[in-house]
Symmetry: C2
Subunit: 493 residues, 2 copies
């Protein structure tokens, strides 16, 4: 705590400058953030934290920022893995605005199925407040336990059951954003051809245009039934083809995930006891599936009848491509469901064994999935060759669409002797692979957002005029670069 | 033809200044356009028309416009009903760029189900070229016979089977827009969290940002089966509730339309012979449905199995709310399918009897549908009271969503003694009702776009900062107001 410098912010009744608040808001959940927190070397801290309870208080804080020329970082659940909320070195003071006290269901229109939430409401409170009334939003990113509805919208998040519920883009219906130019009231209309969609312009602005304070989302009746299952395909091509056919034939599953052979082997080793593994392995070999086998994880969510007909259609496709399920399928699906938000905690476990772990993700067209995955895996595997270090890599497709899929790659490498040296290894892995993503016909992020860590790669993806669109908007709403500078665009205050 | 003034455009090998070309591109298909064409009083004409065949030629035309300081109007099928392509009085010369020669399927990636089209490809050519390969886009607005894929994107169009295929927003995957600042290459990615979506920023810009030249759209395998059917509900509340439950329970129909009681009566009178009408009326009365009955039109599109289970789920809902179908249902559904693009021609038929007809449309939340429909109908019915004229009005919900529905109102009024006086009557009807839409929690257009006719109402819907977003973008891409000025925004060159 001794290293937290004195706050440079002027006094204000809404601003807290206690060290603990500043330390707690200094970092997100990226690998460098996590290293920083372990090592105690946070680099930079916000000069203070505010916890507004109303839109009016957010406006007041923004006006105070203009008056005293300081920087504002909007903060949801602090789960960013791309540096969205990390203060950078700056001659100006930095205020983090933590939206966590705006966490209530403010209105639920049951006829139109629209819920209005305070933007700082985290996943569990979103669902608890809705489910008490018989409704669900159905948005379950891996960060769900902490991340907030406003954060999901600001960074264009996607949940694990997006096959049924859609991405946050399909859920966000409108609401209120406080900007330096005033309040942006985003109209909530089912569908419109009245010019560009303002919802879509604000989603993904990552705090650069303003701060979401109240948001309307499209909700649904809580489903009658939800089930997760697992089955195994003979090889990657079969698994990928099943996923593509499910999406393109619109089989109404709520999720489908395809692990490649390496991930399938790793999961079998990590997720089960030796006895269980041998039992499963023996059964699958008996059914003709060797080490090339790939695991499919899938779920149905809806009425019992809808789930039944969805599974019936799926089974036809699985059979055609040689899928093997059986009695184990339901048990393993249940295991997945129990562990679905646990992956981020794996970092602690492997660290104790001297192993670092992180993930990279993108999405691309079906026709490019193999090439993109192969390039990402090969790049990671070879990235530390010069250091004589091996990297263990595996991948799954986490979200599927008619056009393509998201690619989610996990990699493990040995920790170096110091935090600094471990961070250097990570930087090599990250930058080499991001370069490969940017140069492919893929996006620099399917679900994590841009933040500071991906801003460098945006121009390749969006093109010169695409970047001009974003820069023009940000500049018009925040000409002095007061809101989250360095995020989304590579600029500094 | 004598009234077409001399062209003010400089000579260019791509520009045609023949009177016939200029007359043919002077007007769209709105009621005033149609009056102008009948009366021969076109008011203004483009000074010339170009028919580019490549993106390079579009760039050349835009550069020529800058060089010689003239205005450019992008033109697709000329089916605008909101004044998108109508030249206004201007001291500058006006060039209409007709995209009709860029009408080819340039590429079809069957694995990723992405088709690339010249932006000027009209509906029938889109489908013919795709269906020859076993695919479909499935976008069928009423203007389908003439309107183009680029026009659909530029004006955020919606097709009749949007319940299955989605709006054009769900189909448009990326492509190329030629702007005054260069070529905007819009990346085609299945889904992304990399900042604001450039596709979404360009859709609905109605030619103000640039001209789409090549567009990628998400296509599907041609369906195994498609059926349209009709049934009758006891009253409006029952019909509306069925539609809401279908959307909110995600019953996979491809379309559902709910006619109110007035439209149901009118359709029965207009669409059938007296003998057929008496037969149907007698049967429905026997089944307990009186003059309050409402017609539901619906369709299924997909595999035979998917259609069967969709109809099974629908039937349960219909039964719960007192629906009556029977043997007539399939026959009447087939009649609807045959006449689905015919409505625009009705104008000619009624005109011969001294009756003018036009439509108005919006969309709003389920909780506001009744109020909005009632206000629109009452406003139209009373709008010509001062002139002692009655207006006949009826309505249907044309597109349904979980959140709400589109409201599509048709109105008939007597022609006055002169074109001018008839136009005055129309202006009263249009402006009074648009005011009621703008003041409701509804959009000024669900599917027709903004054009010149709705620009006045945009600020109420989008708000001051919402308008600022649009103005900032347009100004940045076209600071001299060269591209379609007066459209989308109320500005003049």
């Amino acid at each position: 705590m001794a290293r937290v410098p004195a706050s440079r912010l002027p006094q204000h009744p809404l601003i807290v400058t206690a060290e603990e608040d500043r330390v707690r808001h200094a970092r997100g959940q990226s690998f460098p953030d996590w290293l920083a927190m372990r090592s105690g070397d946070f680099e930079f801290f916000p000069d203070g934290v505010a916890y507004p309870e109303t839109s009016a208080q957010v406006r007041e804080l923004l006006a105070f920022a203009v008056q005293h020329d300081f920087i504002v970082i909007p903060y949801g659940g602090g789960t960013s893995v791309a540096g969205h909320i990390t203060p950078q070195k700056s001659t100006k003071a930095i205020l983090t605005v933590d939206m966590g006290r705006m966490n209530q269901l403010m209105d639920l229109n049951e006829e139109s199925q629209i819920a209005t939430f305070g933007a700082g409401t985290p996943g569990p409170q979103v669902e608890a407040q809705l489910q008490a009334r018989g409704y669900t939003l159905g948005h379950y990113p891996q960060s769900w336990e902490l991340s907030t509805v406003g954060g999901w919208i600001a960074s264009r998040s996607s949940g694990q059951q997006s096959l049924r519920y859609g991405r946050i883009e399909q859920m966000f219906a409108g609401g209120r954003m406080e900007t330096l130019q005033g309040t942006l009231d985003i109209p909530s209309i089912p569908a419109s051809s009245a010019g560009p969609d303002i919802r879509e312009v604000t989603m993904g602005t990552e705090g650069r245009m303003g701060i979401f304070t109240e948001v309307k989302v499209r909700v649904q009746r809580a489903p009658e039934e939800e089930k997760f299952m697992v089955c195994f395909m003979p090889d990657w091509q079969a698994g990928k083809t099943v996923a593509r056919e499910v999406a393109q034939q619109r089989i109404p599953l709520s999720m489908m995930r395809v692990s490649n052979a390496k991930e399938t082997r790793a999961h079998a080793n990590l997720g089960t006891s030796l006895k269980q593994f041998k039992l499963l392995d023996g059964y699958l070999r008996f059914r003709g599936l060797d080490d090339n086998r790939c695991m499919l994880t899938f779920g149905v969510t809806g009425s019992k009848y809808q789930n039944k007909v969805a599974l019936k259609q799926l089974k036809k496709i699985l059979k055609k491509h040689g899928g093997v399920g059986g009695a184990l399928a339901n048990i393993m699906g249940t295991i997945w469901a129990h562990g679905r938000f646990k992956f981020p905690y794996l970092r602690e476990t492997t660290w104790a064994q001297g192993i670092a772990v992180d993930t990279l993700e993108t999405s691309t067209d079906w026709g490019n999935v193999d090439e993109q995955m192969s390039q990402m895996e090969t790049t990671l595997e070879n990235a530390l060759k010069d250091d004589g270090e091996e990297v263990m890599v595996f991948t799954h497709l986490s979200h599927i669409y008619g056009q393509g899929a998201s690619i989610y790659t996990t990699y493990f490498f040995r920790c170096a002797d110091s935090y600094e040296a471990t961070l250097e290894r990570w930087k090599k892995l990250k930058s080499k692979t991001c370069e490969v993503i940017a140069q492919g016909r893929a996006t620099i992020s399917h679900q994590h957002g841009v933040g500071r860590d991906h801003a460098l790669y945006m121009p390749v993806e969006k093109g010169e005029l695409g970047m001009r669109v974003i820069k023009t908007l940000v500049k018009d709403f925040d000409p002095e670069k007061r809101l989250n500078p360095g995020v989304l665009l590579q600029d500094t205050p």
